[in-house]
Symmetry: C2
Subunit: 130 residues, 2 copies
């Protein structure tokens, strides 16, 4: 398969596939005589894996780690779980932070009448801090 077909099938753009190759997240693709990259079903599978893991917010470095664990039939499942749980913790933190910010912004927005008049507690609060 050419890179474009793979892109269509996996939802990973051709640009990204080349990029993943350039940073060695995936091994260099085979080439035709004219230099076109050729992909196997296994490559497609790997790109699906990457796509899904990235969609779950794993960084490329984490994906690399997960891929190497994926390829190692003898790794302990605990290693994989640890990565996922670290990621879960990040997410908990991020959610908590965003919720707190949301609360602050809501309060700010609610206190501003939001019309043509100039006075606006939002800016006063931003300036005054707290």
């Amino acid at each position: 398969m050419n890179i474009g077909e793979v892109a269509a099938e996996t939802g990973v753009t051709a640009k990204s596939i080349r990029y993943y190759e350039s940073i060695n997240l995936i091994p260099p693709a085979e080439r035709t005589d004219s230099g076109y990259r050729q992909y196997s079903d296994r490559d497609v599978q790997t790109l699906h894996f990457i796509k899904r893991a990235r969609g779950l917010g794993f960084t490329v470095a984490e994906v690399a780690e997960l891929l190497s664990l994926y390829r190692d039939q003898d790794r302990a499942s605990g290693e994989v779980k640890a990565i996922v749980e670290a990621r879960l913790e990040d997410i908990e933190h991020k959610i908590a932070e965003l919720e707190s910010i949301r609360g602050t912004l809501r309060t700010l927005a609610d206190r501003c009448h939001g019309d043509d008049r100039p006075d606006c507690p939002i800016l006063d609060d931003l300036a005054g801090g707290n």
Copy 2:
């Protein structure tokens, strides 16, 4: 005040202050004869504003907009409120997305026993998609 003192007082690093100047988020500072930047209380105030707005997740571009509204005594409060509300929407989306990801990751983690044994549904799921 020297840049270091301002940094200590506002919590914005000297590096960031210079960066903000370089992108014209803040006007160029006055200089001493020897070239050191000098800041007034008003500058410190502005940096507090920036610090707080950035902490609330506004992008630098949004902060620039808020600052210019802040400086314009005649702007409509509605303009400011609109920015805050747009930001609130982003946050709602992000929270919803993170919650969904959290759910998926929890399910994955729960189904993996996470010990020395090699078999691990996490990787199978990542590979299988869905």
